[in-house]
């Protein structure tokens, strides 16, 4: 008898659980539907957003492509120009050496080499300067040095001085070395 009662109670319990489940489903049917619709809407919205984003990114990529190509072309032109300038500076320094040798016929090759070497060092410092201020400073130094060499050369050519060596230039070099 007790087993029968227990079984009946268990069946009742099962039925009550089923009832409760059905009731809950009826009560929350609208909310479930809403939730389902909201989820579908959210998924569609997300898909649309992703589509828009991918279109935007593709546009950005094409822009970046063009921008990179332009910048690289500019960089190449700048580097070519830089090399050309450097070559011209080297040629100018060679001419400077020739002019000082022409002005001072007895000038030893070692002195001419030292002057040229110093000018080249100044040129390299100018080229390797990181910031604008340093660049300007080194450029001024190079210009000053070249001017001094020209002054010495023209003074000798015009007969203003009887020096056998470009004294001003050599003094400038020794001063720089001391500094």
């Amino acid at each position: 008898m007790s087993i029968k009662n227990w079984l009946l109670k268990a069946v009742d319990l099962l039925h009550s659980i089923k009832d409760e489940k059905l009731r809950w489903q009826i009560d929350n049917q609208d909310r479930q539907l809403q939730l389902k619709q909201a989820r579908i809407l959210a998924e569609n919205q997300l898909a649309d957003e992703l589509k828009k984003k991918s279109v935007q990114l593709e546009h950005d990529i094409s822009l970046l492509h063009t921008q990179n190509a332009t910048e690289l072309a500019m960089l190449k032109i700048k580097c070519k120009q830089d090399i050309k300038d450097y070559q011209q500076y080297l040629a100018a320094l060679d001419k400077l050496k020739d002019s000082i040798k022409n002005s001072y016929t007895q000038l030893p090759e070692a002195v001419a080499f030292t002057i040229h070497h110093h000018a080249k060092q100044l040129l390299n410092q100018l080229w390797e300067a990181e910031n604008f201020e340093d660049k300007m400073r080194h450029e001024m130094q190079l210009i000053q040095f070249m001017t001094t060499v020209h002054e010495d050369a023209s003074a000798t050519l015009q007969g203003k001085t009887q020096d056998k060596l470009p004294e001003k230039t050599l003094a400038l070099i020794s001063n720089r070395r001391l500094v």
């Binding site: 998924e43 957003e49 990529i61 030893p108 080249k120």
Partner: protein, 175 residues
């Protein structure tokens, strides 16, 4: 539902097997064997149902995973990720190309400088050689040869400081 069927089959199988055991105890001739076979069959059916259910669940999961993988959202996300990676690659490529241009530029500059250095060092070495030739009569043969060798050696090493020192040394020797 399928689990219920499987459980029911399992319980029935155990009950039938228990019944067969009891009947065996009562020493009945043919019935226990038949009932044992029936119990085993039921047990087999229960396991087969469970297996089929497992396979169904796995197939369902596979289908769901595939449909999620090819859904609009996932495809969009993959596409965005692909484009972002491509963008990063482009930036990296730009950086590497710029670096290459800078490197080539620096290399060309160094070549120009070296060529210029060689040219002027050759002139200095030639001048030293001419000075030594002019001093041929005033210097001993061994000293002259040594100085000429030093000149050649420093020229080959492209050592401007040593060449200048050599020139100074020659000047001191002659004065």
């Amino acid at each position: 539902m399928i689990i219920r069927i499987a459980l029911l089959l399992l319980i029935c199988a155990f009950a039938v097997l228990g019944l067969a055991d009891i009947l065996k105890g009562l020493a009945s001739p043919y019935l226990p064997e038949f009932i044992t076979q029936l119990g085993l069959g039921l047990l087999f059916c229960a396991f087969a149902v469970l297996l089929i259910m497992g396979l169904l669940v796995i197939s369902k999961q596979i289908v769901q995973t595939i449909s999620t993988y090819f859904s609009n959202t996932q495809r969009g996300q993959r596409r965005v990720l692909f484009i972002q990676t491509k963008q990063a690659e482009l930036k990296q490529l730009f950086y590497c190309r710029a670096l290459r241009i800078h490197y080539l530029h620096e290399l060309t500059k160094q070549q120009l400088l070296r060529r210029n250095d060689r040219q002027h060092l050759a002139a200095l070495s030639k001048a030293i050689d001419q000075d030594l030739k002019a001093l041929k009569n005033r210097l001993s043969t061994s000293t002259l040869k040594q100085l000429q060798q030093e000149n050649r050696c420093y020229h080959q090493q492209q050592d401007s400081a040593a060449l200048l020192q050599l020139q100074q040394k020659i000047t001191t020797l002659t004065s």
